[in-house]
């Protein structure tokens, strides 16, 4: 069976009239029908809706109209992005039947680009989690090993792309939720600079950290999708006003309104890496890394050096506080954002509240409590409680404000580093994909898996995860403790200064050659 793994290729075929949008869509739907029962990447497949979109596009083609850059490309949509008229559940009972009456700006842009929206991808409830296990729809499986997690929270998006069901997916990344699943599934994932992509219509988790981004099988497809979704949106006050400016200067300055932004995202692989300064975070390589991950990262650094790059050791002294800082900031923002779910205007309302024999049974307050109690999953409630605590009187200074100050130090570390280097390299995760259920009983252990990814969200910087398989054939690098991991995807994490997505895309394209 023909597997459509390249969005660029599909769009070219559809534009050239070699294949119809209907044929491409049917092929994708057939692959999904065959693979989704075992992988569970999609929680809903929009078969009819997708066929309608394809038919409309084919009419457009027949009429000789100009086609968009994603002509006929099937794309998976994370279940926290609003598509008008379709359910958007955030994988939570709270929004199980929620049908948005408005549409996310990124979806508008996909439609304008002639993409085919194919279905809702599974995720951790409200994007809180690192394994797609906290989903009311049940976990997704890693296509490379069905006993393992595809990562999270955009696990469904990553699994859909990695299994070849669709060539592209949208995810959201609050602390690594695009990059970690991309790493676990062996594909490419990019978290853009904060403010590059509109958050309008993305169901909020932590507003100062959330960013929508692409998942794909190549750097070129990441760039293709990013070009479609990026840009200023008046509906999102945090959307950068200058989201597409000239990137001719290689100067790096801390983010401010004078930042240079790329006009066009592109992934042309450079001939060699002469003139590129690569920052290696020594601390990340001495952390408790899985031997294969360490070997893959070191091999990639060597590859860069051999191509002419200058490798510079970089110190990020506050990186070790990133996880604690992140979980405080994210939980506080979540506690605030999720206060809107009261079971009154939309979302789940408990039918039991009226009949409980608790005090104030049937009162407004009792119904809200019962609705939130039953509508939210365990991890969501844990974070709401943590955030409520860290924001409460007497503790806000000690926890929330303290975390915000450390956040600035983390950002300043990056600003200093990007004065010296163009790209930072390290592992995306400390180990390859873990077994499903591995961290079920220990939230802190689960939080630790985000160690290398959360800083980019705190600082607002762009970051990309790409697969590298240097150790695949090298069984000696695998310890006895984990003999089964040799065939699992390994990934490296590239980070750049705000606005410098192109450096990441170009480097990723270079490394893939």
């Amino acid at each position: 069976m023909n597997v459509d793994t390249s969005a660029l290729e599909i769009a070219a075929q559809v534009r050239a009239g070699v294949r119809s949008a209907a044929a491409v869509t049917t092929a994708a739907l057939q692959r999904i029908a065959r693979l989704n029962p075992s992988i569970h990447a999609f929680v809903e497949v929009w078969s009819d809706f997708a066929a309608e979109q394809a038919a409309r596009l084919d009419q457009k083609i027949a009429a000789g109209q100009t086609l968009g850059p994603l002509a006929g490309v099937p794309i998976a949509i994370k279940d926290n992005l609003c598509v008008a008229g379709q359910i958007c559940s955030c994988a939570s009972k709270m929004l199980e039947n929620f049908r948005p009456t408005y549409q996310a700006t990124v979806i508008d842009r996909l439609v304008q680009a002639d993409a085919i929206l194919i279905g809702r991808a599974n995720m951790d409830q409200f994007a809180m989690g690192s394994a797609t296990e906290y989903s009311m729809w049940g976990p997704s499986k890693n296509p490379r090993d069905l006993t393992r997690s595809p990562g999270g929270s955009s696990g469904g998006s990553a699994a859909a792309v990695a299994s070849g069901m669709v060539p592209l997916a949208l995810g959201s990344d609050t602390g690594g939720s695009i990059r970690q699943p991309a790493a676990f599934c062996g594909i490419y994932g990019l978290k853009p600079t904060y403010g590059t992509v509109s958050r309008y219509g993305l169901i909020a988790f932590a507003s100062s950290l959330d960013q929508v981004g692409p998942l794909a099988n190549s750097a070129a497809d990441l760039a293709l999708l990013l070009n479609v979704i990026a840009g200023h949106d008046p509906k999102d006050a945090t959307s950068l006003p200058n989201a597409r400016r000239d990137d001719s200067s290689k100067e790096t300055s801390p983010v401010d309104s004078n930042q240079a932004w790329p006009k066009e995202f592109e992934s042309h692989a450079p001939q060699n890496l002469k003139g590129w300064r690569i920052g290696v975070i020594d601390e990340q390589l001495s952390a408790d890394l899985h031997p294969d991950v360490l070997a893959a990262t070191q091999a990639t650094i060597k590859q860069m050096e051999q191509a002419g790059a200058t490798v510079v050791p970089v110190d990020l002294p506050h990186q070790k506080y990133a996880i604690a800082t992140y979980y405080l900031v994210a939980s506080c923002e979540a506690a605030s954002n999720l206060s809107r779910y009261d079971g009154m205007h939309f979302g789940y309302r408990s039918p039991l509240a009226a009949t409980t024999n608790q005090p104030h049974a049937g009162s407004l307050e009792a119904v809200i409590r019962a609705s939130r109690g039953a509508g939210f999953g365990e991890e969501v409630k844990r974070r709401i409680l943590l955030g409520t605590f860290a924001l409460s009187q007497g503790y806000a200074d000690q926890f929330y404000n303290q975390a915000l100050k450390v956040r600035r130090k983390i950002r300043e570390d990056f600003d200093a580093a990007f004065q010296k280097v163009d790209v930072l390299i390290g592992p995306t995760t400390a180990a390859p994909a873990f077994k499903i259920g591995a961290h079920q009983d220990d939230p802190v252990a689960m939080y630790q898996t985000d160690l290398f990814t959360v800083s980019a969200n705190l600082a607002g910087t762009p970051a990309l995860s790409l697969p590298v398989n240097h150790c695949k054939a090298n069984s000696s690098a695998t310890s006895d403790a984990s003999p089964a991991t040799t065939d699992l995807p390994l990934a490296v994490h590239l980070q750049a200064a705000p606005g410098h997505e192109n450096r990441l895309l170009q480097m990723a394209a270079f490394l893939a050659r």
Binding site: T101, Y102, Y194, G195, S208, P234, L240, P241, V255, H318, Y321, I323, A324, T325, Y327, L328, A335, D342, M344, H345, F346, G347, Y348, R349, A353, S363, L364, A366, V367, I368, R369, R372, G373, A374, F376, K381, R382, I384, L385, L386, T388, F389, A390, S392, Q398, F399, N401, Q402, A403, L404, K405, V406, R407, R408, K409, R411, P443, V444, Y447, G460
Partner: protein, 120 residues
């Protein structure tokens, strides 16, 4: 720093959540684990450091003072052939917006949201 069951119950009230006694015990353990872990932030010297609330610290995002409709009414043609005069169109559009707004309400009577009794 260690919190107790009373604190968990207090937070439960503040956050409008509802837990069983068993869940409260579990959350107490989890929260203490997380807070214990978060306590490491205290060792950082933060004298003179301003809190960073946002990744992009830009101020005063301005836009024209127009009234955008979040719930888009249908186009004139979709309003039907009889909808000719402006007042009638306006009412129909308003009706459609209301229908959309109430579409996700757990309970409504077609005009208002229905909520539990607020006043005794």
């Amino acid at each position: 720093m260690k919190i107790d069951l009373q604190t968990v119950a207090h937070l439960e009230r503040l956050a409008y959540l509802e837990f069983s006694p068993q869940q409260r015990e579990g959350l107490l353990i989890d929260l203490n684990k997380i807070l214990n872990f978060a306590a490491e932030l205290k060792e950082v010297d933060l004298t003179g450091v301003a809190p960073m609330t946002h990744a992009i610290e830009q101020l005063n995002v301005l836009r024209p003072d127009t009234l955008p409709l979040a719930l888009e009414p249908k186009t004139q043609s979709e309003l039907g052939p009889t909808a000719r005069d402006d007042a009638q169109d306006h009412n129909r559009a308003a009706d459609q917006r209301r229908t959309l707004a109430l579409q996700n309400a757990p309970q409504h009577d077609g005009v208002f949201y229905l909520v539990p009794k607020v006043l005794e």
